[in-house]
């Protein structure tokens, strides 16, 4: 069975990696349509994770039935076989097993040489639950699936692209559709990679240190697994040699090998195959007393307190102050969210920071936020147009979001999904500032939002006969056409790192429904010569 378990671990790790790399654009050469190519939903693992689903439901105060249904299989598995998910399925668990083999020499793989704090994870879970109740996500930090996906995206994907480009004979990678056209780069990628590396280094303290001591999903499944149908059973042949107790990598066995903590047992079958007496079976039957889960009430309260402080802090952070016009409640000037995103508060509550949208973004423009959105928005996706624009014919971020923080949208809808508005800085624009012939923002604009007037805002005069040089026009932005995609900012030749045309959150209309945004556009529309009419 151990071999079967290992095969299962490898299978799910490979599936996770395949889905990770398939969270990429697939381009239809016939019409240029893009889709996420996968036989399973690309966010399969994120969806089946009950901790992610439930906290998203609690934090956003909305019963997302489809989210709930996806989490049922893992719960059923847990009710049947304890934390079999941790031992057989979880990709991070498999990575931890692999790392343990490296950092712990064989002779040190004994519980007596290990240090772990099994109760700590329940306090982590308490903090996660408390912050979710207060309407702010904390689960993203330590949920194993979200964490692994994010760390791979932010921390390892870009270096991998670089490495693959070094290899000879890999040819033109952009045709694979796996990597963005340009070398990918993610802000705070190092921190994300470090978090994963630190978890894998937990092997220095004990095997499966993460799963034993910290994982909030493990804690949740441990609570569910109090009375499993199948469990480890020790027969009368047991001679109390304690080999299994010393060998158990979850430290789930006590009382000279006779008793089991179902909250810790990951059904790895190691003990059953090790037992010289062949006294151990993993079998169904009536419940029998296990090892007690002895939570320290004071520490649990501390954990809940941490979550409470976080939740209160995050929901009242600087970035959420009401603005003067009352249009919206966040003030982060450069906080441009992907199109289709829910209104800011709902967005940060739903977003589990898995990084799938950043992974799939073909221009690499979606970047992890650091402090732009306040405490509650760390590692949420922000469009940074100077890195990459929001491509007009792309809706992949909405397709891959597992919690509908970015709601799916159709490509034609992008014309009235206002995520920001471009603003021209007249002191660095080479036309406004020094009268040069530049029109890049107009050339590249997908929505025909740049128009030309003279310096005073009047129509540009046409040159009189014999006047060789036409009168100069100056670029202006039409707020009803500009949706804030940022292609102008990406291509603007002026300003170095700081373009002369920049998208600010000023035009963000996510607090309005899609129909309301469309109506706003119609109400503010100006027909302009040569430009397309309102659809």
């Amino acid at each position: 069975m151990k071999t079967v378990r290992r095969a299962s671990q490898l299978f799910f790790l490979l599936l996770f990696l395949v889905l990770f790399f398939q969270t990429a654009r697939h381009i239809d050469w016939a019409d240029g349509g893009m889709s996420v190519s996968a036989f399973l939903p690309a966010d399969f693992f994120l969806r089946i994770d009950p901790l992610l689903g439930w906290t998203a439901i609690v934090a956003s105060r909305s019963l997302l039935l489809s989210v709930l249904l996806w989490t049922v299989p893992v719960l059923l598995l847990t009710l049947l076989f304890c934390r079999v998910f941790c031992g057989w399925v979880c990709p991070l668990g498999t990575l931890v097993d692999g790392a343990d083999k490296v950092v712990r020499p064989r002779r040190e793989r004994r519980t007596s040489r290990e240090r772990s704090w099994p109760r700590l994870k329940y306090y982590v879970l308490g903090a996660v639950a408390a912050s979710a109740l207060l309407g702010s996500q904390l689960v993203w930090l330590l949920d194993p699936i979200a964490l692994t996906f994010r760390s791979l995206t932010l921390g390892f994907f870009a270096p991998l692209q670089r490495a693959v480009q070094w290899l000879p004979g890999t040819g033109r990678l952009q045709s694979w559709g796996i990597f963005p056209d340009q070398q990918a780069a993610y802000g705070s990628g190092f921190a994300a990679a470090l978090l994963l590396a630190a978890i894998l280094a937990g092997g220095f303290l004990s095997r499966r240190f993460w799963c034993r001591s910290l994982c909030p999903l493990g804690a949740l499944l441990g609570l569910v697994a109090r009375f499993p149908f199948f469990r480890r059973r020790v027969g009368t042949a047991c001679n109390e040699c304690t080999l299994c107790q010393l060998d158990c990598k979850m430290d789930a066995i006590g009382e000279k090998g006779k008793r089991t903590s179902t909250a810790e047992c990951i059904f790895c079958y190691s003990c059953a195959e090790l037992c010289p007496q062949e006294a151990i079976r993993m079998a169904p039957g009536k419940p029998e007393p296990g090892l007690k889960l002895d939570l320290d009430r004071r520490r649990l309260v501390t954990g809940i307190g941490v979550g409470t402080v976080w939740g209160l802090g995050a929901t009242s952070a600087l970035a959420r102050r009401p603005t003067r016009d009352g249009e919206s409640r966040i003030t982060g000037k450069w906080l441009i969210r992907p199109p289709g995103s829910a209104a800011e508060e709902l967005f940060t509550e739903r977003c589990v920071r898995c990084g799938a949208c950043m992974k799939v973004c073909p221009t690499n423009g979606l970047q992890p936020a650091l402090a732009e959105g306040g405490l509650g928005a760390i590692w949420t996706p922000v469009l940074m147009p100077r890195v990459g624009e929001c491509s007009q014919n792309c809706n992949l971020c909405g397709e891959v979001c597992p919690t509908d923080a970015i709601e799916p949208f159709a490509i034609p809808e992008k014309e009235h999904l206002f995520i920001g508005r471009a603003v021209i800085n007249r002191s660095s624009c080479v036309v406004w500032e020094s009268g040069k012939q530049c029109l890049v923002c107009d050339e590249v604009c997908s929505y025909s939002a740049i128009y030309w007037l003279d310096k005073n805002g009047s129509a540009v005069e046409h040159p009189a006969d014999g006047d060789a040089e036409p009168r100069q026009g100056f670029p202006y932005v039409d707020p009803a056409r500009c949706v804030g995609c940022g292609i102008c900012e990406y291509n603007c030749p002026a300003g170095g790192p700081d373009a002369a045309i920049r998208v600010t959150r000023d035009g963000d209309k996510r607090h309005l429904s899609r129909a309301e945004q469309k109506a706003w556009q119609a109400a503010n529309w100006t027909e302009r010569e040569g430009k397309p009419s309102l659809r």
Binding site: W29, G32, P105, R172, Q174, A197, P493, G530, K531
Partner: protein, 314 residues
Amino acid sequence: MDRRRFLGMAGLACGGAALGGCGKGPGSGAPGSGGTPSRGRAALTAGKGKGEVYVGKAADPATALRSALAAAGGLAFIRPGSRVVLKPNAAWSRTPAQAANTDPRLLAAMIQLCREAGAGKITVFEHTIDRPAAQVLAVSGIGAAARQGGAELSYGATEGDFAPIEVPRGKMMKQDMLARAVLEADVFINMPKAKHHSQPQLTRGLKNLMGVNFNRQAWHSGPDLAQYIADYASAVAVDLTVMDASRILLTNGPKGPGRTREPEEVIVSFDPVAADAYACGLFDLEPSSVGYIGKAAELGLGEGNLSNIVVKRV
């Protein structure tokens, strides 16, 4: 420390080093930076057909191309086995009906003609502006045309695909970048789209060469874009210009969408300046109002004065 642990640690350290290397942001690089610049070759057709423009007219651009090219003397300058690079305009994520890119039927016909003329490897090169590049090539039909014609499709997006070149005749530009595919080609055929541009000083053919340059943004912030376009054209050997005017974009160019008209013309010329000067007429513009045409003529790249240009319609 045993071997397994050592290898594990070494792996971690390498991973860390690789991570450190990914801090470099995209989009760096000034024009003409890096490496010793090479000098481009002279055009195979240099001096041939100066001031001559051949205009084919037919509903099918392939037919128009064949008749115009026959009148111009064909593709005899392509030696058997030559590496040919075709540069259509496929910068925008727009459909052929929106007339913002070169018509894929024209590209397909050109690939076919090059093959008939004995060309070896044929490469279709474009450095798209909209992204992702593969999607742009799919939407514009250019990708399918290249693939069906058996041509290599090259959409150079990274700096490594470009090499520095000298601009010996340039008035302002002394050095810039050129796509390696173009630099290493035996034959280079420019296939621009005739279309409106929101500022009348700039339009059409020679400007299509911006697509074989890496950092086109830098030109705009320079002192004189028109001079840059002319200078750059003096350093890139264009053996033939095939301009698509089968359907032209009249408003809201260069990306559109806008109004279109169907002159059903394909313009063939060995003189890139004359081709551009002729195309001005399609938009009721005087060539003198298009800054770079005069500047390119001054550099001796071709004939910019309509009264000296012979137009042969077929």
